[in-house]
Amino acid sequence: MSEDRQDQGKRKCPNCGAEVLATDDICMNCGAELVVSPSPEPVEPATPAAPSYAVTQPPREEPVETGKIRVVQALVLSWRGFISHIALLVLGALVMSLMGVCVVLIPPLMAGLYAMSLSAVRGQEPELGDIFGGFSYTVPAYAVVIVMAVIFLVINLLLVAPLVAA
């Protein structure tokens, strides 16, 4: 009888199949979180309804909502990436400034510095040579900068012109 009661108090982890206690919140075998949710309707009124379990992924593996930008998270991520590769990134900015004397080189160098920044923020190892990798994207980099400059100019004219006329 006591064994039956003990068996009733045990369930299988839906994630790995290991036996877990009904009161366990986390599977001791795989670490999956066991969430107890009430059964919609008891099958036998005489016996207590067995709790059903749902497995949720451990929080650290839970993906963030796709496409949603979070300010604090972005700042933390960027700070970690920046601090961990600060010397290389500063050197990259220095190279961009020095070569930026020749203005036509700025767009591909910006793309290159962004490639370095992306590697740093992702936790990968950026290399100084990545800044010159931006020259592989010279045409789109130029196109983006030109479109941005035109939009910037138009908006400024639309805002400044009425002020000058007044």
């Binding site: 929080p59 650290r60 593996e61 839970e62 993906p63 963030v64 796709t66 496409g67 949603k68 930008i69 979070r70 300010v71 998270q73 972005a74 700042l75 933390v76 991520l77 960027s78 700070w79 990436g81 920046f82 600060i86 990134l89 500063v90 990259g92 900015a93 220095l94 961009m96 400034s97 910006m110 793309a111 290159g112 510095l113 962004y114 490639a115 370095m116 920044s117 992306l118 740093a120 923020v121 992702r122 936790g123 931006g134 994207y137 045409v139 789109p140 980099a141 196109a143 983006v144 900068v145 479109v147 941005m148 939009i151 910037f152 908006i155 400024n156 805002l159 400044v160 002020l163």
Partner: protein, 97 residues
């Protein structure tokens, strides 16, 4: 000058700031601009806040340390937009945060 700064912070950085990271990832110009505009409109408050923070920090550090600070603030601001870009494409987990 104030109008230019206002345009830059309110419109320019939030809506077009993700275009260059997208280009650095190999996206074409039209796709990068469309992606930036699309994600920028969807996340305008967050990108606006990031623009304000980057602008304020950059201005403060520049006013204290002078022009040399740009070698620190420029890569940091690039890292901020890179992090925002990564979130915009869903390339981040809570562990990464």
């Amino acid at each position: 000058m104030a109008v230019t700064a206002l345009v830059s912070i309110v419109v320019f950085a939030p809506l077009l700031g993700l275009a260059m990271p997208a280009v650095a990832e190999g996206m074409g110009a039209v796709d990068a601009l469309a992606f930036s505009l699309n994600r920028g409109l969807a996340n305008w408050p967050a990108l606006f806040a990031l623009s304000i923070i980057v602008g304020v920090v950059t201005t403060l550090i520049s006013s204290i340390t002078g022009g040399l600070a740009q070698f620190l603030t420029t890569p940091w601001s690039f890292c901020v937009m890179s992090a925002a870009y990564m979130q915009a494409i869903g390339d981040v987990t809570k562990e990464g945060a």
